[in-house]
Symmetry: C2
Subunit: 356 residues, 2 copies
């Protein structure tokens, strides 16, 4: 199952990254040939979504080594770690990024030790160079494929669960923010599950929340749904409860940025509001996220630090001021307590949060 929209096109010589900041207006690919190029694309948010960033960084690592060797530059003992450190600094909070680059460093160091070779001696040996490049390319590809496989498993698990729980031939699904192929190395998390339901011919219509203030729903999810030819409608965030009141929503599916031990879920601002409305209308509320989203170090959502972002996200659109001069509170995430969640679906199975 291949998504119609992908966030990057990797090859052995470069990676083309789709500039998501210009979507949906322009489909502009940014050509990246070095770690510096890739880092700039991550910083500028051409590519976003923790899993997608991790995969991009892995390819960025490979490309840096490829470019150094191709240009006859010396590789030293510290090149791997330096490249990792440089890439990691482009989005310091993205856990997947650091995880992916660590794996790449490990791969390179393993190559040197297994072949009993000093990095400095690589410059004159084309054959060994190619062996190294093939090995780290395969590692980056594996990170990519693993992520795609996890998306498929999550999508399939979620679709199975919803088809079991919601006795309806064709479903109307509400989703929030962007959790699709643009945010991952595969079909997505929540939006991946919607893709699987659509493939099984079980979708009547998807309602995509606009997702203020950054409009990921209106810009990115809407874009993916249309490209995927899934029947879809865009609504403003505050309309969700009214659609539920009118019986137009069968289930809500969202992603997550962090999940606590007892099953409280941090996700894009507005998710909690949706969960309250879903509960009031007895509509099932599903969270789809990889196991790596679990933070076993904390028990409740109160311990999750919630990022406040720039006021301009609310008061400006495309550089144009759309609000009066007034203080703004711009929490970027909120916390949905486990009681409001029907199930959390991961690549390994289903978790019914009970708070215990």
């Amino acid at each position: 199952m291949k998504p119609s929209v992908i966030p990057f096109k990797p090859s052995r010589k470069k990676i083309d990254i789709l500039d998501q900041t210009r979507l949906p207006g322009k489909t502009h690919w940014v050509e990246c040939k070095t770690a510096r190029d890739v880092s700039r694309s991550i910083t500028k948010m051409h590519v976003r979504g923790a899993p997608a960033i991790g995969v991009t960084a892995a390819y960025g690592f490979y490309l840096e080594i490829y470019s150094l060797l191709k240009n006859g530059k010396k590789i030293t003992k510290s090149t791997g770690k330096d490249t990792k450190q440089f890439l990691d600094s482009s989005r310091p909070t993205a856990v997947n990024l650091s995880w992916a680059t660590s794996r790449m460093v490990h791969e390179m160091e393993t190559f040197f030790s297994e072949n009993s070779i000093m990095p400095e001696n690589l410059t004159d040996n084309k054959k060994i160079q190619n062996q190294l490049l093939t090995q780290i390319w395969k590692a980056a590809e594996e990170i990519h494929l693993d992520d795609a496989a996890r998306c498929l498993a999550m999508g399939s698990n979620t679709a199975d669960l919803i088809m079991k729980n919601v006795p309806k031939e064709k479903l109307n699904i509400l989703t929030h923010c962007n959790t699709g192929s643009l945010a991952t190395g595969g079909i997505g998390t929540a939006l991946g599950a919607i893709r699987v339901l659509h493939e099984r011919n079980r979708i009547n219509r998807v309602y995509a929340d606009e997702t203020r203030p950054f409009n990921q729903g209106a810009r990115l999810t809407a874009y993916e749904l249309i490209k995927e030819k899934i029947p879809a409608t865009l609504v403003v965030d505050s309309m969700a409860a009214y659609l539920m009141q009118k019986g137009m929503i069968d289930a809500v599916i969202v992603g997550s940025d962090r999940i606590t031990r007892r099953g409280d879920v941090a996700n894009k601002i507005g998710t909690y509001m949706l969960s309250v409305a879903a509960k009031a209308h007895s509509i099932p509320f599903y969270v789809v996220a990889p196991l790596s989203t679990y933070d076993d170090s904390i028990e409740t959502g109160k311990e999750i630090p919630i990022e406040k972002r720039d006021e301009k996200e609310v008061t400006h659109i495309g550089g144009k001021q759309i609000a009066a001069e007034i203080p703004v509170l711009n929490y970027s995430f909120d916390v949905t307590p486990y009681e409001n969640i029907t199930s959390i679906v991961t690549e390994k199975g289903i978790f019914e949060p009970s708070g215990s």
Copy 2:
């Protein structure tokens, strides 16, 4: 109690109308000297809000007669009704508009019959002309003052009720859309109540919902609150429930466009979502509206036709496309059932909807 922001400045020779479509960026006054000028301003939504439109139309009626007489034009038996018909056509659905112009026609016809004068004979008699103009000017002013008085009564009743029900010295209030002095001939309905609470030194902070898709909260309510020096914060609509979860909201106050016999309330899209969230957090939810908002012809909210508006309200801002090419559902209003409403406050007193 005078609001710091007013939607128009009437005088015996003209009315200056604040162009609300250019707020908050520009404070531009449109000078209107005839019914045609006033009608254009209503059509172009320089002035909006049913009560404000009614008052504007009354002054427009006066100005039309003033301008005809000043320019030596003939007044005929049909001039009043023609002027009314012309003004009414600028916003056919606004009940207050037609009500206000009917009252102006009645005032003029009463003048002619009480003074036993034929309209056609007015041209040559400056003294009678001035008497007529003074009488209809006073009628327009009375419509204006009546509206202002209704706002004060609603505000005072609401403030009394909240101070009785919410045992807290300083309150955090959430409101939605614009229901202030820009929408009425006085201090407003829901926002009027907030003004009264502020005057009584009982406001800690007002949270103004952005109110997608037309952003009346971000553009107009935020503007009024800042001008009024009321501590205020702008939030996106979907953040409301999260603020409630964090204990940051003591009461929700909103206006209404139509109220049914049993107390179901039609109001700006998003109002229902707020009522669901307020109920889930046991936060009181108040509707403030003049008695004229009641539609005694219907029992339940299901009978209220809900207007769907242009998709571009959602997909465009200031002419710029901000969403992917996707179908949009743009209900402009929703219905909050009586069970979710703590009290409906009018200029005459408090109504506790019980559904009976």
